[in-house]
Symmetry: C2
Subunit: 212 residues, 2 copies
């Protein structure tokens, strides 16, 4: 069996950026693009870009650069942009509501299909045309609706329990907005967004800015 190449995580992390800039070039009717030009737009060095894009086969030609459309299609496939991932939000407080309203799921080809909360005052509210359901409905919901990604926006106390429930019920992707370092099995894909930590980093860098 042919095994796919193992693309390193830092490369994966740069792909959405390449994708965004290539799309801009395509909209501007640019057919071919050099790594240098892509570097100027994206802030990476031409060398870095060439190394990264080498993972996707022989797409560049010396002196001619990359075919914008071809490269964009490759990256889109790797990013899974052709597939629609189904998501639910657990915790419909400020963060959960902001995520539901802010992310342009449609454009990114995600589908938000459920929102759950434990607070009786929030259960029954409509957010983006989705009625918030009680957390006690979560397991029975997951039994009949296959979900790809669970977005955890609960309090820190409940985050691990919710994560366990999601993983036990077949969810493989977790987008974690709680400030807890979740423990999940290796097969689960976990992406953390820790806003408090980001803010403290900003302050620390400001505090030390003359020395960095």
């Amino acid at each position: 069996m042919k095994r796919k190449k193992k693309i390193p995580r830092p490369v994966i992390r740069r792909l959405p950026k390449y994708h965004r800039y290539l799309k801009e070039f395509l909209i501007d009717d640019v057919d071919r693009i050099s790594s240098k030009k892509l570097g100027v737009r994206s802030g990476f060095t031409a060398n870095q870009i060439r190394q990264d894009l080498n993972w996707f086969g022989e797409l560049g030609q010396p002196g001619l650069g990359y075919n914008v459309k071809e490269l964009l299609n490759k990256i889109s496939r790797i990013l899974g942009l052709g597939e629609k991932y189904k998501m639910i939000i657990i915790g419909a407080g400020n963060v959960g509501q902001a995520i539901a309203s802010y992310i342009d799921f449609q454009v990114l080809n995600f589908k938000l299909v459920g929102i759950f909360d434990a607070n009786p005052k929030i259960i029954g509210l409509k957010i983006q045309d989705i009625t918030v359901e009680g957390i006690d409905q979560l397991v029975s919901f997951l039994k009949v609706t296959p979900i790809d990604i669970g977005i955890i926006c609960t309090t820190t106390n409940n985050a691990q329990m919710v994560a366990d429930t999601l993983v036990d019920n077949g969810i493989i992707g977790i987008w974690n907005f709680s400030s807890v370092d979740l423990e999940v099995e290796e097969e689960t894909v976990l992406e953390n967004v820790n806003l408090n930590q980001s803010l403290l980093t900003l302050r620390c860098l400001m505090n030390h800015r003359t020395y960095l």
Copy 2:
């Protein structure tokens, strides 16, 4: 003149985490802690922790570990937790409102003192006891109120213009929630939170999870 040691950015990024766990140990009345124990709690290796904490002088003793309180105080000082930073939010849509409500500014010793928006429907609203002001009031506000951090929650189209205005008016820290790669001078400290990119990374990792 004695120059402070230049702590590398990745070390700085781990400090809020060390801070959090040390605080937990302090609350649990733990006096001294080994790098191994701190590693078990924080998920870093003992070696990594020792290397990181070495930046703060000779705090650890072989066989005795670190003095929890002393280390916590050092890290707090470096994180600037003693100083109160003043912040404003620009863009009071879903994200701006979520940030205003979600971040426990008080606990982290930040002070949110202003919220600005261009939308007449939003101007005048009260969010966390702060009345949203028109964006046309921003410059005159900054002339009389020194602000440390500007939180950019505007649309992508306006983000760079807003960043320029903030920097021109003395703000040195920018917390950027727009998906634009802002261009700022070197002295400005920029911390990006790109939620779309984080979500695309998650999908990409899921898409490739058998190979990563």
